[in-house]
């Protein structure tokens, strides 16, 4: 049933009352029954994921952070890191570490591959994964002032073979810098050492990847080492490489937010400089690393 609105029920010729601002609309009834937010994240699922991952974080990878205090305690920031391992171990480590240490949610960006996978895609989304679309990132950073984690190398990082470890790939088309500029938030670079060795790719079966519609189809050392013991599940288990992370100084851009476009060359320069900083930090950390397993 459609009822006339107050305004339309007005009778012509009648004296009009002086305009008083309408009272604020009463709070709309919103009978939600789950805690899943607009991005698909559920804090309850996230808590469960943290509880399950904690033993791996503490005892398997024995994660160590350096410079965690450089991550802003409030306000939006785009965290960017190098990306490695056939099944990347860096994303859960970074999200788990920051959420437990700083008590701030981290939204992890990834391409649509996850979204297409049944079950995995739903769990990924409930655990804080968001599709890497510029508009998603902008809303998270600008409107909601959240921490967002991105891997500018994309699938080219985890897709590379072991002989190319710690050689950063191209940082896409520098979209991450553009988003940070538009959102008016700093980029916080993070260098990760150890993830490369947690699941090294020995060979890449390009034709198989193509047939399956995957970015890469690796043969990992883990399949060979754990396969005989654990069967197919062995392919999912990481080696207990020691993971060390170093947070670098936040990069603030000296440009106004919300511009329709930013100078291409400035964007590319900033992206390249961030890439170089992460690369340099990686070399420095590798020089100091005595053992892959003990750090």
């Amino acid at each position: 049933m459609v009822r006339p609105t107050a305004e339309s029920a007005r009778v012509p010729g009648q004296l009009l009352p002086v305009h008083v601002p309408a009272p604020a609309a009463p709070e709309l009834d919103d009978p939600r029954t789950s805690d899943v937010d607009e991005w698909g994240r559920s804090e309850r699922t996230r808590e469960m994921a943290r509880a399950l991952f904690a033993p791996f974080y503490d005892h398997w990878f024995r994660v160590e952070w350096e410079g965690l205090e450089k991550i802003p305690a409030d306000g939006g920031a785009l965290l960017v890191a190098n990306h490695a391992a056939a099944i990347p171990s860096d994303a859960p480590v970074i999200m788990h570490g920051i959420e437990t240490e700083l008590q701030r949610p981290v939204y992890g960006l990834a391409d649509e591959l996850f979204k297409k996978m049944p079950v995995v895609g739903t769990l990924w989304s409930r655990a804080g994964g968001v599709l890497a679309h510029p508009d998603n990132a902008y809303r998270l950073l600008r409107e909601q002032q959240q921490l967002v984690l991105a891997f500018p190398e994309g699938s080219k990082g985890p897709g590379k073979t072991f002989d190319e470890r710690y050689q950063l790939r191209r940082f896409g088309r520098a979209g991450f810098v553009q988003i940070a500029m538009r959102a008016g938030v700093p980029v916080v670079p993070i260098a990760v050492v150890g993830a490369e060795e947690s699941m090294p790719t020995l060979a890449n079966l390009a034709p198989l990847a193509k047939a399956l519609g995957l970015p890469y189809a690796p043969v990992t050392a883990n399949m060979l080492a754990f396969g005989p013991l654990l069967g197919p599940l062995g392919a999912l288990l990481h080696f207990p490489a020691k993971i060390k992370l170093r947070v670098l100084d936040p990069v603030h851009f000296d440009v106004p937010p919300d511009q329709p476009r930013y100078s291409r060359s400035k964007v590319m320069d900033e992206a390249e400089s961030i890439r170089q900083q992460i690369q340099d930090a990686l070399y420095e950390m590798l020089r100091a690393r005595a053992s892959v397993w003990r750090g």
């Binding site: 305004e7 339309s8 607009e38 698909g40 079950v119």
Partner: protein
């Protein structure tokens, strides 16, 4: 001088409701409704004109009535209700003819009831679509193709007629006590169909807010494209749980076979809905809100309003509207000098 409004699709759910709401507006002088079939709800002062879906007599009607506003509600978004051919005829050819008749005429306002189907539904889509975004891939399903073509005619008309305020409203999936859509029919089943392993976020708009939005843009002389959708996105599993039901998953691949089998049992799940069951869709409703529109229901609120009225209907039978309409009695109330008329 009040508005003179022409409503298309008077015999449909939306056309009739928009006309009824317009009747309550004293600023509207004349309401003319077009359709092939008679309106199903009682209307007081709307003039019904029988016409085919191609509006062949339209230019004569516009000329004769000197309407200044067209509300184009006659666009089919439920692809299960007719053959592709009929839908194309109604949506694309109908809109084309409608705008041909409206060009260089007395018309100054046009409101078109489009749908969020024009955005499509793909894994690479953003969580929120805003009005200026265009879809990345070409339209996949026939209802999407059809509405995309309709929108291109609307845009052409707006360019060719800069003196006309053209408003296009894109509605998200509608739920409410009275409307029947593929999604509402799925939610009426004892088990709600879903796709295994997927639990995407849905957004709904209450049927009252649909009519209110169309009147709102007319009242406020808004032009441009506006999304109309309730606040909030909720997972399909939560939609089912608000309805107090469990989901029955279809396999994650080859749903086409299963939906074809299901349609034999009267459960129609069109392909555009299968996509939604995998990836969902969200519309940013900020633009219309900033223009001053208040929603009466959130997405979750619309689901609850739907299920509560369904339960009532199942228990006490169709309640119809509040009482049975008696034409003579109503005529008496309306016209007899014996009735004391109070102004509110």
């Amino acid at each position: 001088m009040g508005k003179r409004v022409l409503v298309t699709g008077l015999g449909t759910f939306w056309g009739a409701r928009v006309a009824k709401a317009l009747e309550a507006d004293p600023d509207v002088d004349v309401i003319v409704g077009l359709d092939k079939v008679e309106p199903t709800i009682e209307l007081e002062r709307t003039e019904y004109v029988k016409s085919d879906e191609n509006y062949s007599i339209l230019s004569r009607i516009v000329e004769a009535t000197q309407v200044d506003t067209i509300v184009h509600t006659f666009l089919v978004v439920d692809s299960t209700q007719m053959r592709a051919r009929t839908m194309h005829e109604i949506n694309v050819i109908g809109t084309m003819n409608l705008f041909a008749a409206a060009t260089d005429s007395s018309v100054r306002n046009v409101v078109v009831k489009s749908s969020s189907y024009v955005y499509g539904c793909a894994p690479a889509d953003p969580v929120w679509f805003s009005e200026d975004m265009t879809r990345r891939s070409p339209p996949k399903h026939r209802v999407e193709r059809s509405l995309t073509e309709v929108e291109s005619y609307v845009r052409d008309f707006a360019v060719d007629n800069p003196h006309v305020a053209v408003t296009m409203l894109r509605f998200s999936n509608v739920l409410g006590p009275e409307l029947s859509t593929p999604l509402s029919r799925m939610l009426e089943l004892p088990l709600v169909p879903s796709v295994f392993g997927f639990d995407p976020r849905f957004q709904f708009v209450h049927e009252d807010d649909v009519v209110r939005a169309m009147l709102f843009v007319l009242d406020h002389d808004l032009a441009g494209v506006f999304n109309v959708a309730g606040d909030g996105l909720l997972p399909w599993s939560e939609v089912a749980s608000i309805c107090g039901k469990l989901t029955a998953p279809l396999p994650p691949i080859g749903q086409g076979l299963f939906t074809a089998a299901l349609s034999r049992f009267g459960v129609d799940i069109p392909p555009e809905i299968v996509d939604l069951l995998k990836y969902g869709r969200g519309l940013d409703n900020g633009r219309l809100k900033r223009a001053g529109f208040d929603y009466t229901h959130t997405s979750a609120g619309a689901v609850r309003a739907f299920i509560e009225s369904l339960r009532l209907k199942r228990t006490v039978g169709s309640t119809g509207s509040d009482y049975q309409y008696e034409r003579e009695v109503e005529d008496f109330f309306r016209r007899s000098p014996a009735v004391v008329r109070r102004t509110r």
